[in-house]
Structure formats: C-alpha cells, structure tokens
C-alpha cells in the first residue's frame, strides 16, 4: 500500500533518568496530515516522549527524523523554526502578559522579529493581523487585552493552543489539551482542535477514549516505555494485546 510521506519518524528511542528506564525502544511513524493519538496509562512515558521529540530532552539512544532530517538532540528553538510546535499538559503561558502579547510572541518569532533592538512589533505589517486571526480561531478575541492570570482555566487552555498555533507549525503536538475540562468544554475544545489542525499534522496525547476514537486516524499505544501497537482506530480496538494491557482496564 502506498503511504503518504512521513513527516516524523521515531526510531528506537530509549530514555533513562539516572538509571530509571522510562522509554525502552519506542518506534512509530507519523504521515503528513495524519491525526495521530498517543494513548497509554499514566507513567507510560507519553510526556517524556513528547519532550524528546520536541528537543526538550536528549534521548539516551535512538533517532528522531523530522521532515527527512535527523533532528535528534536539536534544541527546541531550532525545531520550532523547522515548523514543529507543542502545547503543554500543565498550562505554560506568560501569566502576567496580555493574551494578545502571549500569541504575538510566537507570531513575530515566525516572522523573524525576535531580537530586534529598533522595531516595535506592533508597527510591523501583518503581525497584529495574524495575531488577531489566531485569537479568533481559538475564541479569545474578546479578552485579548486582559492579562492571562484573569482568564478562566478553560480559556487558559484555549490560549495554550493559540500559542502553539502562533508559530504556524506543520506538525502540532498537543499534550492532553482537554485535561481538567468539563464535558462541554472538552467537546468545544475538540471541535476547535479539529478546525485549527486542518491541513496540518497532529500528534495528541489524550486520556478520553471518546475523544481519541473520534479524532484520530492512527493510534499508538504506549505501555511501560514501549509501543504496544500503532494502527488505525478499529484495529486498535480489536487488538488483544491492547485490550489486555490497557483498554480492558477501563
């Protein structure tokens, strides 16, 4: 079967923290425009895997190939400039800044306006417009001049995604975007994620199985440091190993 081009290849990744083995050989690939969910019990190493893919940690061994380039051990800012972007499980924003400034930080970074000593970001064409567009997408237009600390939890989670989008990524990694949300908030968040990731590749860590099976076209099951199965949702649902190890426990 002819596959779409792979945007990301994770090859035999191992990671241990001073003797504690968290990942023991993780392999999977993500095709362009795929919606890929990573599931697994707590402590399976999902967030560690994200941290390795995005350059936050260096793997103990193994390779990360992003857009056909070996990016193993490259720092986060380089990977971001290669159009990879991530969100965090625990909201990781700029709490004292305005919502607008939070998103603008990524927008101007994409346009190369990072360390300019002379230009004011608001005077550079397109930055304000782009920032407003993203705020519109994540539904935060009405609070854009508020400081983040004044926002409700649900809206801070939306901002988390807005910041992730601000660098115009091709590959988006979302780490439990709906964690701590009510049912209605979750439904709204999933609708929004579906919308904003159209035409991009998504890797998502998620616990809510309804969300996973409605959103993803491929699911990888991470179990105690290794990938148990990586396949289409229906195959995963019927996989005996997965049932035994994980789904059956629900």
């Amino acid at each position: 079967m002819k596959q779409a081009k792979n945007i990301l290849e994770v090859r035999n990744i191992h990671k241990d923290f001073s003797g504690l083995q968290v990942l023991t050989g993780v392999d999977f690939t993500v095709a362009e425009n795929e919606k890929h969910a990573v599931i697994g019990p707590n402590g399976a190493g999902k967030t560690t895997l994200f941290n390795i893919i995005t350059g936050n940690y260096k793997p103990s061994s193994g390779k990360i190939i992003f857009k056909e380039t070996d990016v193993t051990g490259k720092p986060p800012h380089i990977l971001t400039r290669m159009n990879m972007s991530r969100s965090f499980q625990i909201t990781n924003v700029f709490p004292e800044m305005s919502v607008f400034e939070n998103v603008r930080a990524g927008v101007r970074s994409r346009q190369g306006l990072r360390y300019n000593f002379l230009k004011r970001p608001e005077r550079v064409a397109g930055i304000n417009q782009k920032t407003e567009d993203i705020l519109e997408q994540v539904g935060l237009t009405d609070v854009m001049s508020e400081p983040v600390s004044a926002l409700s939890y649900g809206r801070q989670r939306a901002l988390e995604i807005g910041i992730t989008l601000s660098t115009e990524p091709e590959l988006i990694l979302l780490d439990e975007p709906t964690a701590g949300m009510t049912r209605e908030e979750t439904a709204e968040a999933i609708r929004m994620i579906n919308e904003v990731t159209t035409g991009r590749t998504l890797i998502i860590i998620e616990h809510d199985m309804d969300v996973v099976f409605s959103l993803a076209d491929t699911i990888s099951v991470l179990h105690y440091g290794t990938i148990l199965a990586s396949d289409k949702p229906d195959e995963i649902r019927n996989d005996q190993k997965v049932k035994d190890a994980y789904l059956g426990e629900e």
Binding site: T54, N56, P75, P76, H77, T80, R81, S85, R86, F88, N92, V93, F94, P95, E96, M97, S98, E101, A105, G106, R108, S109, R110, L113, R114, Y115, N116, F117, L118, K119, R120, P121, S145, P147, I163, S166, T167
Partner: protein, 334 residues
C-alpha cells in the same frame, strides 16, 4: 503593563527632561554639578535595571563596564591628539560593547545565583587588572582627564564651564536614556520580559534564550560604558573606584531604592542616592551604613522600591486594589 501606562511614563520622561533644561536657571552651580552627576548615574542605574528589573538577572559586575568606559575615555583622550569629546565617548562605547560580548559569552548559560556569583568574580578580575596594569591605568593613582571643548562648526562650546557641561550631559545622556525607554517597547525589549516570565515557553516559540541574554548583557554593558565615559569626563579623573565592585553595588542600590518595576524608578533612585549621599555626608561618615539599612528595610518591606510604593498608593487612592508591582516590568521578580 498596558499601553496607556507606557504612554504615561513617556510623558513623564519628556516632562523630566524639560525640567532638566531649567535647572541651571534656578539653582546655584553647586546644585547643577550634583544634578549632572545624578543624570550620569541615572543612565548607569537604568542600564543596570534592564538586567535586574526587566530580565531578572542580578549582576554584581556592572562596574566592570562602567569602569572600562571611564578608563577607555581617559586613555583615549590621553593618547590620541585632538580627539573630540564625543569621539572619546564613542570609543568607550565600542570598547565596552566588545567587553560585554566577550564576558557575556562566558556567562550566557547561567542565570540566578550562578550569574550573580560569576559577575562578581569577573568584576574582581577587572579590578585586579586596573590596579596592577600601572603603565596604562595609573594603578592606584588613577588617570586625569582633560575635557576637550566641543566644536560645533560655527562655534566652540567651552566644556570646562559647569553649565555648558551640564547641558551637554543632559542632551547626550538624556538621548541615551530615551533610547533605553524606547528599547523597552521594541521586539527585543518585549522578548527580554517574556523570557523572564517563561523561558521554557520562549524556547518552544523559536527563541534562543541564551543568545537573547547575551545581546541584552552586551547592550547594558555598552550603556554602562556610556555612563562610565561621562563619569570620567565629569570628574575629569578616573580611578579604581570606577571599576570597583562597590560601584556596581551603587547601581544596584539606586535601581532598587527607586524601584526595579518601573522604567523611571532607577532615575528616581539615582537622584535620591546622589542627593542623600551629599546631604548625609555633611553630618556623618556613616552614610553607606544608612544606605545599607534603607536597602535592607526596602528588601523586607517595600520590594517595589519608591516608584512601586507611589504606584500602589496611587492605586489605593483611586480605589482599586493595589496590585503590588503590577507595573511596567510586569510584576516583581518572582
């Protein structure tokens, strides 16, 4: 925090500059000299606060740039025949930019305590060099500086005149201070604040935070060198005092007393420091002790400094809940 507050500070800045122009009309020469000194130290304290208040970096080594600026000015004027006064200032800025870049490259990975410790140690190195390299720096004897007159083409300004030098300082150093204020609004100025607030996220937005710190360190070093150059011109003398750790401490005290949370705080602090020092030293030799006590009390009870205090009083008066430190540099350094 919001745009309005910035504009307010801008208006204040212009108002203060206008006030500056009438100082020699109303005050005796003695006061004019003190104000000249306070303006120079304002730039020094502002450059310091761009590190402390804006980037959250505590440096004990800011005097290495201030002192280098002062020494380079003295040496340049002493060795280059007919060097114009602004030429000497320019050379000093170039030299401190280079110094800042080299020292900054060694420091760029470090923050917090480690940064504080290393800046102190490097300043000690500069101090040793200034003391020991007698043939260039004059060692303990220092170097005297002759202020060249400023030729404007149609006329020549006599820089040994107190009022003329005052206006010269006000305009040139004032422009540098205005540029610092503008800097806080530029892309880089915002980046510095964002990195202090959440460095990890900035990395994931494509920012190389180490490089950013290096640029800022170099920039503030150049500004301190700028101030140091005027310090040498002002005293017409450069000694190891200019490059001692105590000189960096003075910048810290000024910035902190004035308030690290606002742009004008360090200016306020510099004026309070210079005038308080002048006033107290008439009565007692113990003014550094008094300054130290004021500092400790402020660390314990008024961490926002004088400008933070004014802001919270103002907010309380206007009925709003005092958001302590919710000022220009987005809150205190937590």
């Amino acid at each position: 925090m919001d745009k309005k507050q910035y504009t307010n500070f801008g208006i204040w800045g212009i108002f203060i500059l206008l006030m500056g122009f009438v100082v020699p009309v109303f005050f005796p020469a003695y006061r004019v000299i003190l104000v000249t000194e306070a303006i120079i130290f304002s730039l020094f304290a502002i450059s310091y606060n761009l590190l402390l208040g804006y980037a959250g970096l505590l440096s004990f080594g800011h005097a290495m740039f201030f002192g280098t600026g002062a020494y380079v000015t003295a040496i340049a004027l002493g060795h280059i025949e007919g060097l114009p006064i602004l030429g000497a200032v320019f050379i000093a800025i170039l030299a401190t930019t280079a110094t800042g870049f080299i020292i900054g490259s060694l420091l760029l990975r470090h923050k917090g305590s480690y940064f504080a410790l290393l800046t102190l140690a490097f300043n000690a190195l500069f101090y040793v060099i200034a003391t020991k390299w007698h043939s260039i720096t004059g060692g303990d004897d220092g170097l005297s500086v002759t202020r060249p007159d400023l030729s404007l083409g149609f006329t020549t300004l006599n820089m040994s005149d107190i009022t003329t030098f005052y206006y010269f300082t006000l305009i040139i150093v004032g422009l540098a201070i205005l540029f610092c204020w503008y800097f806080t609004k530029t892309a880089m100025g915002r980046t510095v604040l964002l990195i202090r607030e959440n460095e990890e996220r900035m990395k994931f937005l494509g920012y190389n935070t180490n490089i950013s710190r290096l640029y800022l360190f170099t920039f503030t070093g150049a500004l301190a060198g700028f101030a140091g150059s005027f310090y040498a011109l002002f005293f017409q003398f450069t000694s190891i005092t200019a490059i001692s750790i105590d000189m960096g401490t003075a910048a810290l005290l000024m910035a902190f007393i004035g308030g690290t949370g606002t742009f004008i705080g360090p200016i306020l602090g510099a004026f309070v420091y210079i005038f308080l020092q002048d006033f107290l030293s008439d009565f007692t030799d113990r003014w550094p002790l008094i300054m130290g006590l004021i500092f400790i009390l402020m660390v314990l009870y008024i961490p926002g400094g004088l400008s933070g205090l004014f802001l919270s009083i103002k907010e309380r008066l206007s009925g709003r809940r005092a958001a302590t430190g919710q000022t220009e540099t987005e809150g205190q350094n937590r």
